[in-house]
Amino acid sequence: MSTQTLPYTVHPHPVTGIYSGKFGTWLFLASEVMLFGALFSSYVLLRVGAPEAPSPLHWPSHEETHLSWRIGGFNTLVLIVSSVTMVMAWASLKMGDFSKGRRYLWLTFLLALTFIVVKLSLEYVPKLRGGYVPAKSTFFSLYYTLTGLHGLHVIGGMVVIGYFLGPGAALWKRDPEYYTNRIECTGLYWHFVDLVWIFLFPVLYLM
C-alpha cells in the first residue's frame, strides 16, 4: 500500500517555486517572529512603564545588572560564525561533498555548544549564585525569560543538527537532494536563532 509519494517534498512546486519543507520552515519562522515579537513588545511596554531612578523599581543601568558585554559579544561572534559554517555545510552538500558538509555541520554543532556552555557557566550560574535571580526585578525577569527561551531554541537546533549528523545521515545515501534540502531548512531555522540573538544582545547588554 501507500506507494504513492507526496509531491514537492524534494523538488520545488512549479508555481510557488519552493519545496514543501522550506515553505513549512518559513511559516514556522513567521510564528516564531510572533513569539519573540510578543516578548520584545512586553519588554518595551514594561521598560517604558518603569518609574524613574530613585524608585526601587527603576530600570537598572549596566552597572547594576552586571551583565558583561564582553561575554555577550563573544557569544554573538560565536553564533555569527556558526551561521557561516551552517551555510558552508549546505553549500558543500549542494556540491555533493558529503564529508566536507559533515565537517561544517560538526563545526556548527560545536559552536552552538560553545554558546550554551559560555552562557551557562559564565553568565547564568554566577548570576544566580550572586542573587540575580529572575524574581529580582523586571529586567531580570525579562533577561532570563528571553535568553532562556532563546537558549532552548539553540538546544533545539543542536538536537536537529545532531540528528542529521547521526541517524539522519542515512538519508544522504538514499536521497542526497532530500538530505541537502533538510540541511537548508535547518540552516534557515539556525539563521533565525542567530538573528534573535542579534536583537537580544543590544537590547539586554547595551541599551
Binding site: G24, S137, T138, S141
Partner: protein, 585 residues
C-alpha cells in the same frame, strides 16, 4: 473499487498490508485516521465541557441546594453534602471555557474536519507533512491529559476563568500551573497543524484546482491556519511569562504594593496586569474567527449542495474571509473597554470592530441569497446549516451594543456577553459541527446516519439551545454580572432569577436531546444505510474518492475542470457537475 476492502479485510489480508494495529490506528500518519482521532477525542471533550456546564446550571438555578443524584460523588473538597462550593464552581467555569474552545471546538473544526476533508477536497493524497500531522495530534492529546489531570490536584483545576486574568491567576491554586502547561502543549499542537495546513493547501492542490476553484471550506481553513499560526505565539509568550510569575516569582503581570488577604505581597513588582490582557486578547480575538470561519465553511458547502445551486457571491465571500482574518488582529482591545481606556484608543478599536462586522454581514448575506431561486432539500445536515444562519445572525447582531464603548458600559462583563458569544459558538459553530458530521459521515464510514433520529435531534436541539441562551440577554440587560456563583442576593439578580431557571432547564433538556445524536452516531456505524461514494450528489472532490477513502485517497489523481459548485448547470441531464468530471458522464 479495490480500496473498499482496505478497512473491512483487516490485518491478516496479506502482503499489501504491513502496518500493525498500532501504526494503523494509533500512531498513524494518514490524515484520515488522524482526523478521526481528533474527531473522537474532541467530541469526548465537547461532551465533558457540556457536562461541566450542566452542573454549573444546577448551582445557578437552585443555589445552595444539594445536587440530586450525582452531587455526592464529588467529595468534600468540591461539593460537601452535594452542595457546590464557589471554588469548584469557578473551576468548572474556567475549565468549561478552556475545554470547549481549545479541546472541543477548534480540534473538531480544524483537527477533525480540516484534517479529514481538506486534503480530499483539494485532491491531495495526504497532508504535506504526515509525521508532523501525527505529532500535532499527540501533542494535543498530551495537552488534553494535562488539563484533565488538573482536576485532581490540590485546589482543583484552574479557577481564574478561561481568560486567566493576572494577578488573580498568578496567586491562584496549582491547577493554574497545569493549565498553563497544558496550554503550551495545545498551542504547540496548533502551530504544527497550521504550518501543515497552509503548505498542504498551497502545494498539494490537484491539477486544475486554482485558488478560486477551491471550495469555500478550504479557503476558510486556509485563513484559519494563518490566524492560528500568527495569533497563538503571543499567547504562548504570555503563558511562559505567567508560568515564570507563578513558578520563579517574577512579576511580569504583578504591580508593586499588592496586599493579598491582608498580607503585603513580596514580589518585586513593576509588572502590568494589563499586559496579560493585551497578549491574551491578541490571540483570543483571532481565536473567535478560528471558531467561526471553518463552521461558515462547512455551512457554505452544505448550503451549496442542498440548494442545488452555485453559491451566491463566492468571490466576495473569499475576500471577506481574508479581510476578516486581517482585521481580527486589530480589534482585540474591544474586550478591554472597561480597563480605563481613553477616548482615542477606544474609538480606534470600536471603529475596527464596526469594520470587521461588514465582511461577516457579507458572508451571511451571500449564504442567504444563495437560497433564492434554489431547490432546497431539507436533509439533516441542511437543517443544521439553515438553523446556523439566524442564530449566528443573533450572535453577530448582539455584538453591536458590545462593540460600541458607550452601550458596552452597562453590558460589559454581564450575561449579555455570555449570550452573545455563545450564540456565535454554540448555536452557531456547534450547529455547523453537527451539520458537518451528518454531511461527511457517509464519506468516513460509507454509511448514512439515520434521518428520523437526525431530525428529532435537530428540532429538539434547536428549541432547547435557544431556551438556554435567549434568557441570558435578559439577564445581561438586567445587569447581572457574569461568572457569579449565584445571582441570588442581588435585587437586580433575583428579579431575573426565573430566566436563569428557564435557561438551566433548557441546558438539561438540550443534554437529553443529544442522546438521539449519540445513539444515531454509534448505531449508524453498523446499521446505517450503505450509500454510494457520492450520496449527496455533490460536486467537490472529496466525493470523487471512494467511501471510506483508502490510504492515498484517490484511485487515480483527480484533475479539476471547473469551479466548486456547478449545480443545476443548464443543458445537463443531472443537476450536478462534479469538479473532476471532464464531461458529463
Amino acid at each position: 473499487m479495490s480500496s473498499h476492502d482496505h478497512h473491512t479485510q483487516g490485518h491478516g489480508s496479506g502482503a499489501h498490508h504491513e502496518l500493525s494495529f498500532w501504526r494503523h490506528y494509533v500512531f498513524s500518519t494518514d490524515h484520515k485516521v488522524i482526523g478521526v482521532q481528533y474527531g473522537i477525542t474532541a467530541l469526548c471533550f465537547l461532551f465533558l465541557g457540556f457536562c461541566l456546564m450542566m452542573m454549573m446550571r444546577w448551582q445557578l438555578a437552585y443555589p445552595g441546594q444539594p445536587m440530586p443524584v450525582i452531587g455526592k460523588f464529588f467529595g468534600e473538597a468540591a461539593m460537601p453534602g452535594g452542595i457546590m462550593l464557589p471554588e469548584f464552581y469557578n473551576s468548572l467555569g474556567a475549565m468549561h471555557g478552556t475545554i470547549m474552545v481549545f479541546l472541543g471546538v477548534v480540534p473538531l473544526l480544524v483537527g477533525a474536519f480540516g484534517n479529514y476533508v481538506m486534503p480530499l477536497q483539494i485532491g491531495a493524497p495526504d497532508m504535506a507533512f504526515p509525521k508532523l500531522n501525527m505529532a500535532s495530534y499527540w501533542v494535543f492529546a498530551v495537552g488534553g491529559i494535562v488539563m484533565l489531570v488538573s482536576f485532581f490536584v490540590p485546589g482543583g483545576a484552574a479557577n481564574s476563568g478561561w481568560t486567566s486574568y493576572a494577578p488573580l491567576s498568578v496567586i491562584a491554586t496549582m491547577g493554574q500551573t497545569l493549565w498553563l502547561i497544558g496550554m503550551v502543549f495545545l498551542i504547540t499542537s496548533s502551530l504544527l497543524g497550521s504550518v501543515n495546513f497552509i503548505v498542504t493547501i498551497i502545494q498539494l492542490r490537484a491539477k486544475g484546482l486554482s485558488m478560486f476553484r477551491l471550495p469555500f471550506f478550504v479557503w476558510a481553513q486556509l485563513v484559519t491556519a494563518f490566524l492560528l499560526l500568527l495569533a497563538f505565539p503571543p499567547l504562548e509568550a504570555a503563558g511562559v511569562m505567567q508560568l515564570m510569575d507563578r513558578v520563579a516569582g517574577t512579576s511580569f503581570f504583578m504591580p508593586e504594593g499588592l496586599v493579598v488577604s491582608g498580607v503585603p505581597s513580596t514580589v518585586a513588582g513593576g509588572g502590568s496586569p494589563l499586559l496579560w490582557q493585551h497578549l491574551f486578547w491578541f490571540l483570543a480575538h483571532p481565536e473567535v474567527y478560528v471558531l467561526i470561519l471553518p463552521a461558515l465553511g462547512i455551512v457554505a458547502e452544505i448550503i451549496a449542495n442542498n440548494t442545488r445551486k452555485p453559491l451566491w457571491g463566492y468571490r466576495p465571500m473569499v475576500y471577506s474571509a481574508i479581510f476578516l482574518g486581517f482585521m481580527s488582529f486589530i480589534v482585540w482591545a474591544h474586550h478591554m473597554f472597561m480597563t480605563g481606556m481613553g477616548p482615542t484608543i477606544s474609538t480606534f478599536f470600536a471603529t475596527t470592530t464596526m469594520i470587521i462586522s461588514i465582511p461577516s454581514v457579507i458572508i451571511l448575506t451571500a449564504l442567504v441569497i444563495s437560497l433564492y431561486r434554489a431547490s432546497i432539500r431539507f436533509t439533516v445536515p441542511m437543517l443544521f446549516a439553515l438553523a446556523f444562519l439566524p442564530m449566528f445572525a443573533i450572535g453577530g447582531l448582539t455584538g453591536l451594543p458590545l462593540g460600541l464603548p458607550a452601550s458596552d458600559i452597562p453590558l460589559h462583563d454581564t450575561y449579555y456577553v455570555i449570550g452573545h458569544f455563545h450564540y456565535v459558538v454554540a448555536p452557531g459553530t456547534i450547529f455547523g459541527i453537527f451539520a458537518g458530521i451528518y454531511y461527511w459521515y457517509p464519506k468516513v464510514t460509507g454509511r448514512k446516519m439515520n434521518d428520523v433520529l437526525g431530525k428529532i435531534h435537530f428540532w429538539l436541539s434547536f428549541v432547547f439551545i435557544n431556551m438556554v441562551f435567549g434568557p441570558m440577554f435578559v439577564q445581561g440587560l438586567a445587569g447581572v454580572s457574569r461568572r457569579l456563583y449565584s445571582q441570588v442576593g442581588y435585587a437586580h439578580g433575583e428579579a431575573v432569577q426565573s430566566w436563569t431557571i428557564t435557561s438551566s432547564w433548557g441546558a438539561w433538556l438540550l443534554g437529553l436531546a443529544q442522546i438521539f445524536f449519540i445513539v444515531n452516531f454509534f448505531m449508524s456505524m453498523r446499521a446505517g444505510k450503505k450509500v454510494s461514494d457520492n450520496p449527496w450528489e455533490a460536486t467537490t472532490l472529496e466525493w470523487a474518492a471512494p467511501s471510506p477513502p483508502p490510504h492515498g485517497n484517490f484511485t487515480t489523481p483527480p484533475v479539476v475542470y471547473r469551479p466548486p459548485y456547478e449545480y443545476s448547470v443548464p443543458g445537463l441531464a443531472k443537476d450536478y457537475f462534479p469538479q473532476h468530471a471532464a464531461a458529463e458522464a
